[in-house]
Symmetry: C2
Subunit: 444 residues, 2 copies
């Protein structure tokens, strides 16, 4: 159909939403993807899809060649070591030193089936250190699946929202919550999914000090490592380095993901770098579930073994090769994902000049970086109403509520799938949306 056909039929859109019994104020990624799929079929239009955070760039052949080597070496039939292959663990240790300036000896690096499994195991351990500290505190907004992990594990969740607190106030709010004595772990991502807020070095230092003082495990999700493009983090072994909890605390686990930084989502490959001091600590309560009171052993043998008995040999080898090349300065992983920044810059400009405003709108007074995500609201509409209206203009996204945010009007925009050839259509649809809504807001 021609672009002139917007808005699409509200009746059809409403019927699809109703048919799937979806609450648009709380719709998750998979549900929205289903709505879009049906809408595309029924309405004959291709949507501009900003709901799902999947890599929009190709995987390097460095990875696929290293995967193939495993079969040539006959390792497809050999169980991988539970902790990961030596090659991947050594590459991780080097990578963490070169790009974060943090020292984690390779013996404390663990291969995981995606950073997803790293988040699952890290929360499981953090929630089991002490019998009476079963709460994981989240710095919200946050990756929605972390909450599903805590639910599966029977853990409690509480939250401090970046919308309410930044800087010293953030650190104070966390400390206040720690003081109650029931928190075993603190979980955050930086750059943050979905807001693209980046914790400052000062915030990270404050948090790190609290972790050690209150003996809480800090779980730092670096899925978007080095993707704060306001700084050039692309040179291995050279400053500047991103802020990292490893600079300031003993009680930390860093989660690294192949999916976003290396476009490796299909192969479910990540690594956890466990603080050596933490790994060697003993907590008697851990033995109940993990058969060892040592944190490192509980992680690798007590959790990774019974969950999946390790990670596919070939994807470990692929990620190892990518990390090695990155450390050698022969593969610029930061440069290739910088593509996303250009897309975000363009899309933000279009939306902000069309009546949208940013929800999470600054980093302690500085403008946010351009990256994988940003967050917007529109003119007093609730998130659910906004998403429904946007669907009538061939645009899809998700509400911030599913990321634990207190915002009731904010939505998350993911730029990864909006390739340059789609930008003209994006601009057109956003402007059409605004033309129709700035005059007479939809009667909801």
């Amino acid at each position: 159909m021609s672009e002139a056909g917007f808005p699409l039929s509200r009746e059809v859109v409403d019927r699809i939403i109703k048919g799937q019994r979806i609450d648009m104020d709380r719709v998750n990624i998979r549900e929205m993807a289903k709505v879009v799929k049906v809408a595309e079929e029924e309405l004959g239009v291709e949507y501009i899809r900003m709901e799902i955070g999947i890599p929009g760039l190709p995987l390097s052949s460095i990875a696929s060649q290293a995967e193939a080597e495993i079969f040539e070496e006959g390792k497809g039939s050999e169980y991988p070591p539970l902790e990961g292959t030596d090659r991947l663990r050594k590459a991780t240790s080097r990578f963490v030193k070169m790009f974060l300036n943090v020292d984690v000896p390779w013996q404390y690096c663990v291969a995981t089936n995606g950073a997803m499994q790293g988040g699952f195991v890290s929360q499981a351990i953090a929630g089991e250190l002490h019998p009476d500290r079963k709460t994981i505190l989240y710095i919200d907004p946050s990756f929605p699946v972390n909450r599903l992990q805590a639910r599966f594990l029977g853990l409690h969740v509480d939250s401090v929202d970046l919308f309410d607190y930044r800087g010293d106030n953030l650190v104070s709010a966390i400390e206040e919550r720690f003081r109650r004595g029931d928190v075993g772990g603190l979980l955050w991502s930086t750059p943050n999914n979905p807001s693209w807020v980046v914790l400052t070095d000062g915030e990270t230092r404050g948090i790190g000090e609290l972790l050690d003082r209150y003996e809480v495990i800090g779980i730092e999700d670096l899925a978007y490592i080095c993707m704060d493009f306001r700084h050039d983090y692309s040179k291995p072994g050279q400053p500047p380095y991103p802020p990292c909890v490893g600079h300031y605390a003993e009680n930390f686990i860093i989660l690294l993901s192949g999916s976003k930084a290396f476009n490796y989502a299909g192969q479910r490959i990540g690594v956890s770098a466990v603080s050596p001091a933490l790994a060697e600590k003993r907590y008697p309560n851990l033995a109940h579930r993990f058969g060892s009171d040592l944190v490192g052993e509980a992680y690798m043998k007590g959790a990774m073994y019974p969950m999946t008995a390790g990670v596919a040999q070939s994807s470990q080898n692929g990620l190892a090769a990518l990390m090695e090349k990155a450390c050698d300065g022969e593969y610029d992983f930061v440069g290739q994902v910088r593509e996303y920044a250009g897309r975000a810059k363009h899309m933000k400009k279009t939306m902000l000049s069309s009546g949208f405003s940013l929800v999470y709108d600054n980093d302690l007074g500085k403008p946010l970086a351009d990256g994988f995500y940003f967050t917007v609201r529109y003119n007093g509409l609730t998130a659910g109403d906004l998403l429904r209206e946007m669907l009538c203009y061939g645009l899809s996204a998700i509400p911030l509520s599913v990321a634990g945010s207190k915002s009731t009007d904010g939505i998350r925009i993911c730029v990864s799938k909006i390739t340059p050839d789609l930008m003209e259509g994006f601009d057109y649809r956003v402007r059409r949306f605004h033309e129709d809504h700035s005059v007479a807001p939809a009667n909801t």
Copy 2:
């Protein structure tokens, strides 16, 4: 060193055991592997390693070619569907029909990171159906890691041992345990690891009827599918078929593993075939942990998503290709693993003529099949003493205690790594052991 050097130094062996603080009556696979590694270094002898159940055959190039296709198609960067790829799920459905004569539509087949993850998730679900039925009943002996899974999940475990019960008595013993009303799942493997007992069709029928009557989920681990070589199960779509819970119950989950039947251990790939009737059942208690009261949805979205967000695209494609070729009659997976039967036959004969006797010694009066494992004892020695003595003859294995067996003198022998070129050395060592022990049993 020459073969004449047996027995090896008892002092050195004892020192190694003591140095690693290992209880030989309860030594697990990984611990034994460590003991052997050190012993090989210190004593300069290569051990005949029967402790670890790893495939001793190469992975087919059908699999590695299918893995490579994923990268050519650019899917290395695309998240896999949570439930698995359509191709693997359809191949699984067909495979289950062709080799088990069980109907599980592809929508109820789920890719897992090894059958290991299938066992973890299945137990998690079975233990959560009802608030007051948190016990998993095991038919022992059994795969030791299943107990670690239950421990991680905070579930209770109880056991009925094949050593005490077979046939109608086995079914009665299970029913008696079900009557207490606290069992959510029943877990068994057939052929059984470690005893290589195969449940009969009558036993399977009796168990299946109990599962539905008492509303317990039967988790049938078919890691060694079609490997009862007393029957020819190698012809797709043609009888005979192995006994299978799917013939007699609605409440079942079948676990299939790439590791043993397809020599695919390195890539951590398995599938679960969930009974369609079970998958569509609703249990309100499930929603607490899994966000849905539907068993199938709890499995795929509530558990697989937060644990690992699915399975690597390439290993899914590899297993799919193997299953397709097996169903087409172009890849005889049964024929290739029949190699293990020849090894078992030879090794059993040597051991039984050298003073060893079988622990699990018959299938309801019929001789056990020759396969991946068998179980032996020696002349009144405890399992720990026997293993220590065997170490002095360059032989390693594990005690049945770690498999939940009540036997205190039995050990498990795994034949998979004992290639034909090692058989002469195996025979020599076993006979030397017997010469030394039949005269004057070691003073323990």
